[in-house]
Amino acid sequence: MNVLNEWAFVGVFFALSWALPALPIVAAVFFSPKKANAIKLQTYECGVETVGDTWVQFKVQYYLYGLVFLVFDVEMIFLFPWAMAYERLDTFQFFAGIVFIILLLDVLVYAVKKNVLEWS
């Protein structure tokens, strides 16, 4: 298979993996009873009536974890080509990669020292 066909396969697969799980949901529309009423459609919070808006501001801690994750996720993308070309790397390129990873480790140590990764 050439490259175009490979990605055509992924494209068709993508479409079908939306369609296949959607099938039972669509089937449920035809077979399930529909007896909605206002009380049934209320937000379920253990029987207590819901207070205030749901879409509130969230704890900043989640955001900090998200940021640290983002740093690692972006840096890891650079390691994929390095790992792939591993056999063809010369000594300088090899150590450049190692230094890069050690810097990444340094980021982690810094984040821990700054108490960013502390769940309080």
Partner: protein
């Protein structure tokens, strides 16, 4: 003219008068249908396996009424779920609310596109297969966030926040562990990774990376001990609280499928995938057989852990990831990269000509194993010390509390 078989459908169709482009499309469509429906069919039996397994551990019998050995229980459940009323709560974001359960299944299903079943049977052998896996697996995080956000329920939103924090965190060690097979194989294609293991399975060269991959994929599935997303006592049911009927079922079908997918990925990345004796002679039978024998091992291990280990607290969960798994996976990656380089420099790495030879791989494997053992010994020692300190501190607190009580009593 060739005999028509699964391996040459395209040529066969062209020979029988189809337009080449159309024939190509039909081939692709057939392949997709086979590969995509396979996990969906298998999951019906997996749910049965899982329930039986859990029942046996808890000294119960498990499903045994519907069909032989209760095998059709899941089918009955599916019919029931389809026939149940589907409630969309007032104030929910309808489009997102309905799309989220489909995306949860989709993210797992898409992984199967790059899984090699045998030397010749693979959905599509992408050159960037491993990267593709990372990309589609993170759609699951999105699905959970969307489900929690669109339900218009505070518990669902809280649950979703926690799960997303967990899933993105455990993706870091997962990807670092995934880099190790790429390093060994010098390729991101899943098929190449399997071929590169014909001399030695990667698990024996990098057991630490294999275990990190297994642990973090267990966390990615959201299973015990990492099942904070369904901590009933704290957040009712987590992100899927407002879901009912088949949409609720789809989240669970996705989770069950994910466990098997983790097993298959473990087998492909670290246990030689479809490799095994005589596989080249009968690829269509033996390839999938070996692959599923290996993945069943990891699948059952995952079930065993799920059913026997208590749930961790959320601060422990995050600390375990960021202060243990992430540094360990990074250090492990560096150590393996350096040792592999060292092996090449010292000339103990197998030459390209006999890279597939088991004996030629032994010296290099021993060196790598030694490195892994050193990492493991250091880590276990540190853990033992930290555990003892914590126990002593707790014992000290208890003693102090008892002393205070005694003082008050006097």
């Amino acid at each position: 003219m060739d005999v028509c078989s699964i391996n040459n459908i395209a040529r066969c169709l062209v020979n029988s008068g189809f337009d080449p482009a159309l024939a190509q499309f039909i081939t692709i469509l057939l392949g997709v249908v086979v590969v995509a429906s396979f996990p969906l069919v298998v999951v019906i039996f997996l749910i049965w396996v899982e329930r039986k397994f859990a029942a046996r551990i808890q000294d119960r019998i498990g499903p045994n009424r519907v069909g032989p050995y209760g095998l059709l229980q899941t089918v009955a459940d599916a019919i029931k779920l389809i026939a149940k009323e589907d409630i969309t709560p007032a104030g929910a974001d309808r489009l997102v609310y309905n799309a989220a359960p489909i995306m949860a299944v989709m993210s797992v299903l898409l992984i199967w596109a790059v899984i090699p079943f045998s030397p010749i049977h693979v959905g599509v052998d992408l050159e960037i297969g491993a990267l593709y896996f990372v990309a589609v697996a993170s759609i699951a995080t999105l699905a959970i966030m969307l489900a929690g956000w669109s339900s218009n329920n505070k518990y669902a939103l809280l649950g979703a926040f926690r799960v997303v924090a967990q899933l993105v965190s455990y993706e870091v060690p997962l990807v670092f562990a995934l880099l190790v097979p790429i390093l060994f194989a010098s390729s991101m294609s899943m098929q190449d990774i399997v071929h590169a293991q014909s001399g030695m399975w990667f698990f024996f060269m990098a057991p630490v990376a294999g275990l990190i991959f297994f642990i973090s994929s267990q966390a990615e599935t959201g299973r015990a001990p990492f099942d904070l997303l369904e901590a009933e006592s704290e957040i009712v049911a987590g992100f899927n609280i407002e879901y009912s009927g088949m949409k609720f079922g789809l989240f669970f079908a996705g989770e069950f499928m994910h466990v098997l997918t983790n097993g298959v990925l473990m087998a492909v990345l670290f246990f030689g995938g479809w490799l095994g004796p005589l596989v080249e002679q009968a690829p269509i039978i033996l390839g999938p057989l070996y692959l599923f024998a290996k993945s069943t091992f990891w699948y059952l291990l995952s079930l065993l852990i799920r059913n026997t280990v208590p749930r961790v607290r959320i601060d422990q969960l995050m600390d375990f990831n960021w202060k243990f798994l992430v540094p360990l996976s990074i250090v492990n990656f560096v150590v393996i990269a350096v040792l592999l380089r060292l092996c090449e420099a010292l000339g103990i790495a197998p030459a390209a000509a006999n890279a597939n030879d088991f004996v030629a791989n032994i010296p290099q494997t021993l060196v790598l194993l030694l490195g892994n053992a050193a990492i493991a010994a250091y880590v276990l020692n540190r853990l033992r010390r930290a555990g003892r300190e914590q126990r002593l501190a707790e014992a000290g607190r208890t003693l102090a509390a008892v002393g205070e009580k005694a003082a008050v009593a006097h």
